[in-house]
Each structure stands twice: as C-alpha cells, then as structure tokens.
C-alpha cells in the first residue's frame, strides 16, 4: 500500500495514495476535470486530448492532470484564467474536426463533449477556428454497430479496449490531419477480425462508435 498524502484541490482537502495520477484522484472525489483520452490503467498516459489542464502551486505552467502523480501538500486549482483558455482552445480544436449536429447524434445527452461544454460553459460550435472536417463514410458493415469517423475525437479509448479484450483489430493509422481509427488494410470492420464484443462501443465518449437502433 502506497503512502497516503494530503492534497488540496480548489480549497478542498483530499487524501490520496501517493503516486496516483491527479486526474483520477480529483474525479474520485467529485471534482470534475475535463478529459477524453485518459485511461486509468495506462502506465504512460497519452495526454493527447489536452483538456485536463490544471494549475499547481509552485509550477510555472499549467500541467495535464492525467500525467501528474500526486505528492504531499500539493495545492491544485482546476479553474484559472490560463487553464480555462487552454481548455477552451483545445476544445474548439477538437470541434474543428468533429461533425456537429447533436440533435441527429445517437449520443445526444450522454456525450462527453456536451458534458465538457456544459461544465466549462463552452459553446458546441466554432467561433474562432474554421472547420477542417472531411466527408467520411460511416462503417455500417457490422450491422449492430456503426462507426462514424467524422465524429471521432481520436481519444484512443476504443483502441485500448480492443487491445485489452482481443488481439487488436483497430488502430490509429496515418498521422496529422489524416489520422484516423481504422483496421489493417482499411477494410470494413466486418472484414477485420472483429469479435463483436462491443467493448469499443462502451468506451467511446462521443457518437463515433454507437449501437445501431
């Protein structure tokens, strides 16, 4: 058992196990920090969504809470001007490549993007940046599951779940703006080794992987 430490988040005293990552400590104690790519079991977090920034006393710049192990006496602020700016920009950057139109989305109401927008008072539309969304075909080949890459935020939750459950059928292919989740040889999901376990649908925070009704 790791040593217990006491930290302060937004003025609230919290005791946690030393070495645990700040993001999960905060979430378990009812303090919400936006996050998409965070996976608790992952030893080295991707820290790729750039939404879980916090400010820690004694650190010059905001840090991603998913990569920060807690230490005794740590004083954390989840809402500061710099943090809010970083998250607002990171959030809007995600939206530049995300097909909006929540009313038509199966995840309407349970979408993590909607939750983040609500928690942080952000708009679910582009205000400063222009859209770079490309028209992409929805993969309906499985019948029971639909994969819409234009709604994908590239958080990697489905890739992780797939590799934990199976030998791995999906992964990130290409890079930069062309990066997307796909299969070997970019064949439809039904033609890959998909076992239809449904784990990827469970973990998708947005409306990219949804059960067909």
């Amino acid at each position: 058992m790791a040593n217990s430490v006491t930290i302060t988040i937004d003025g609230k005293q919290i005791s946690a196990a030393e070495g645990d990552k700040l993001l999960w400590v905060a979430l378990e104690n009812g303090i919400y920090i936006p996050h998409l790519c965070g996976i608790k079991e992952k030893e080295k977090p991707d820290a790729s969504c750039r939404l879980c920034f916090v400010e820690v006393e004694g650190m010059a710049n905001p840090v991603t809470s998913c990569t920060l192990p807690v230490t005794d006496g740590m004083v954390v602020k989840t809402r500061t001007e710099r943090v809010d700016r970083l998250i607002a920009t990171g959030f809007e950057l995600l939206l530049t490549n995300h097909r909006l139109g929540c009313a038509k989305c199966a995840k309407n109401g349970s979408c993590q993007l909607q939750k983040i927008a609500k928690e942080r008072g952000l708009k679910l539309r582009l205000t400063r940046l222009r859209s770079v969304l490309k028209e992409m075909q929805t993969d309906d080949s499985l019948g029971s599951v639909a994969f819409d890459p234009s709604r994908c935020v590239l958080c990697g939750q489905c890739v992780w779940a797939d590799r934990k459950e199976n030998k791995g059928n999906i992964g990130f292919i290409r890079r930069g703006i062309s990066r997307k989740v796909s299969t070997f040889g970019e064949v439809p999901l039904a033609e890959s080794g998909c076992t239809r376990c449904g784990k990827c649908v469970e973990v998708c925070p947005v409306g990219a992987l949804v059960k067909n009704s």
Partner: protein, 183 residues
C-alpha cells in the same frame, strides 16, 4: 493491389530472411520493415501479416507504423515513377493541378500504382530546381514548367514507346518464324 505470379513466394522468402537477420524483438520492428521494403520495393499486405506473426503483434499495429512513416510505401513502385513536386514554388505555380491531372489520367490517387504496374504516382517536397516550377520528375528526367497538356504528352510518349516495343517484338517473332520455315 493484386500480386503478380510468383510474388507471394518471393515475399515469403524475403520476409523470412529479414526476420532471421533482425530477430523478432518488438524494438526491431522498424528495421525489419525497412529491410523488407529494401528487398521488395514496398510493403505488401502479405509481408506485413508475416511480420506481425513473427514479432507477435497485431496486424493493425504494423499497419499503424507503415502508414505513420513517410519512408514506407504500401504500393509497388511502377515501371515508370512519376514524382510531382509540391514544394513552395511548385505549389504556388499549380503543382496540385498537375497532380490532379496525373490522378485523372492514370485513374489512381497520389501514392498509388496503376493495376498494370506501369506507373506509380508520388508527391515530393522539393527537387531543387524551383525556377522551373512546376516540376515533375519522371523516372530520372526533370520535366520543367509542366502544364496539364504536358501531362498528356508525357503519358502519350510512354504509350507510344510501349506500342513500338510491342511491334518490334512481333516483328522479331515473325522474322524468326519465317527463318525457321525457310530453314
């Protein structure tokens, strides 16, 4: 891309050899793929599957690497390799129009190879003669100030070359035949 006759055997043999040289450690993945590409000229799906099996990672992980790095190509090099420059000067003078012309005429996308493996189409960053923009490098020849009409010209040239070679072959064959008959 369809494999040619006897290609699968070659792929199997080369991949086995590369894996024998490099080992099956996960850290050796990129050198293995580089070795395979050096031998085969590209990374066929069959080769990636064999590497995945040997190194014991999923096939899609190999595909991730092969699509991430620019150095890996997934399509075989064509008999004639067309490289369209997309450097700053070429881009400004319409390099993308030239690329589109080739794509339309050859009915393939950038980075692909025609099914008969005659032509492969690539984009390059700069070939170093910006004064001649837009530039296309066809095999070893630099084509300067290319216009869409020149694209047609280049391809027509190869087409005529191919037809002439075929005619020559036929002629040689028929001559041999008559010689045999006379003899």
């Amino acid at each position: 891309m369809e494999l040619m006759e006897g290609e699968l055997e070659k792929i199997t043999a080369e991949v086995e050899q590369v894996i024998k040289d490099q080992g099956t450690e996960r850290e050796r993945l990129i050198p293995i793929l580089q070795g395979v590409q050096e031998k085969l000229g590209y990374l066929p799906k069959e080769a990636m599957k064999k590497v995945a099996e040997a190194v014991e990672v999923s096939e899609v992980e190999i595909y991730e690497i092969a699509t991430f790095y620019n150095q890996f190509r997934l399509n075989p090099p064509g008999k004639h390799q067309i490289k369209v420059c997309m450097g700053t000067a070429c881009h400004m003078t319409g390099g993308n129009i030239i690329m589109e012309s080739f794509e339309r005429r050859l009915d393939i996308k950038e980075g692909e190879t025609t099914p008969d493996r005659e032509f492969s189409l690539e984009r390059v960053a700069c070939v170093g003669c910006c004064a001649l923009a837009p530039v296309v490098v066809v095999d070893e020849n630099v084509e300067a100030k290319v216009r869409p009409t020149r694209v047609d010209g280049i391809l027509l040239g190869f087409d005529m070359e191919k037809k002439a070679a075929e005619k020559e072959m036929q002629k040689a064959a028929s001559e041999q035949k008559t010689q045999e008959e006379e003899g």
